[in-house]
Amino acid sequence: MNPYLFYAIAAVVLFGALGVVRSSNIFHAGLSLALTFGAVAAVYGMLDAHFLAVVQVLIYVGAIAVILKFAVMLTQHIGQQEPHAPLSQQFPALVGCLAFAFLALYAIYHQTWALAPWDPAHSYISVRDLGKLFLGQERGGFLFPFEMVGVLLLMALIGAVMVASKEES
């Protein structure tokens, strides 16, 4: 894993994330979010998780377009810039964010993470193995969570359809 490449991609991720929170135009914020997710997909690719990278682009970046579409449809005056928060609110917010960041970084660095050893030769997990994991019923298999997530998505879909149809009638 080339550290310089990683730093470059991480810079893009941060740039995108900053764009999301600092942008006053919803559309620009959505586009920055797309950029962030794309860069995160690049990180996944660097970690040899190809399937995850592609799925990240497919689902997140693809969904961003939908979010942007909704933003356009639901916002009356999307072209206008929303006013920035007043300075009296920005300073405490900055202090709070920095405090939280310091706390989080401290916790992360002073934790002993039980990591599996990184073996570049065998780091690649094929899609076939992933599939077997998804449907594995034995210990370490993900069949139950997989099915539960499917049921959850189905419930969400049905709920969305019901909410939408109720509004029309």
């Binding site: 586009l31 592609v54 799925v55 077997k132």
Partner: protein, 386 residues
Amino acid sequence: MNGFDHAFEALFNQLPLPDAVRQLLTMKVVLMLISMGLIIGFISVLVLFLIWLERKISARIQRRMGPMTSGPSFLRSGNMWFGGLLQTAADAIKLLTKETVTPADVDYIVFVLAPCIVFAASLMAYVVIPFGPDASVSDLNVGVLYLLAVGSMTVLGIMMAGWGSNSKYSLLGGLRSVAQMISYEIPMIFAVLGPVLMAGSLSLQEIIQVQERTAWFIWPNIIGFVVFIIAGTAETNRPPFDLPEGESELVAGFVTEYSGMQFAMFFLAEFSNMFVISAVAAALFLGGWSLPFGITQMMRASGMPHVLFSALGAVVFLTKTLVIVLILMWVRWTFPRVRVDQLMHFGWKTLLPFSFVNLLIAAVYMIAYKQIFGEAVFKQIFGAMS
């Protein structure tokens, strides 16, 4: 041995070159750049050819003649079928020299980025297209999924074009296009799942290799093939699903405000996408670069040089792709446009159930195959699928 970069590496290792040059040329980055250059060159010529083909086909369907005069002189007006070959090149040069008019109130960054993203997405799809055995730019193990991901980038680009143009027509066109594309992504994914299930892999080369050993995947997946073609037409905004660019309704939809080279980007991307859809259909359903009845296996065993084998495979693949491209063009000039809400009804209520049925049929076919022909034959043909 997969991919153009490996082929070029082998080539450079065989040529008598001074050591320093060889060191430079076999660097991974340089190999990648060379294969990218090859593909981009191919795409440029391809798109020019496809646009000329479209104009000729449409003309012949409409009892006209199409482009006749620009081209090599021995093919000019006397020849109704091949005249005007260089017409698109002339049009491209004309578009290049046109002034790019940017309306005043647009969101400049978004407006300019949109055609770039759309065109880039369509270029990115060519990475996984299997032109021949061991002849793809980079045969990703998640090839099929990669293509779909690239498709969703196109959706984003179109949304940007629609919004960035700051015009009601463009916005309406962009919204319609996004709705259409995301609706038809799902039947497309399910249609593609049939061949993926049968091959047990997301890699396009592997899917073709399985088809080489057994029959083309179109037979159990005929419904899926039809669904894929229809969904692919909708994904690339081609008629009869071209309402977002509906000329008679919203002038030109989301490309209304674009002129000159930016418009050319969208236009070229549409043709490029059409080729990608046809190529993927040929690869997934029609066996890609392999010929049926074991001809390819015979060719492989005959010991001909690998380059020749690859080239023949590429010819077969391009022929199949061309057939599907012709079908798409034929459909375009025959049918009127489908209305937006009818399009959505059709996508969700008709196409999606059919794609489910196709998946079911493919699964049943696999199980039946295993039962009938036994486990050993099954493993030999379909690979390590348990």
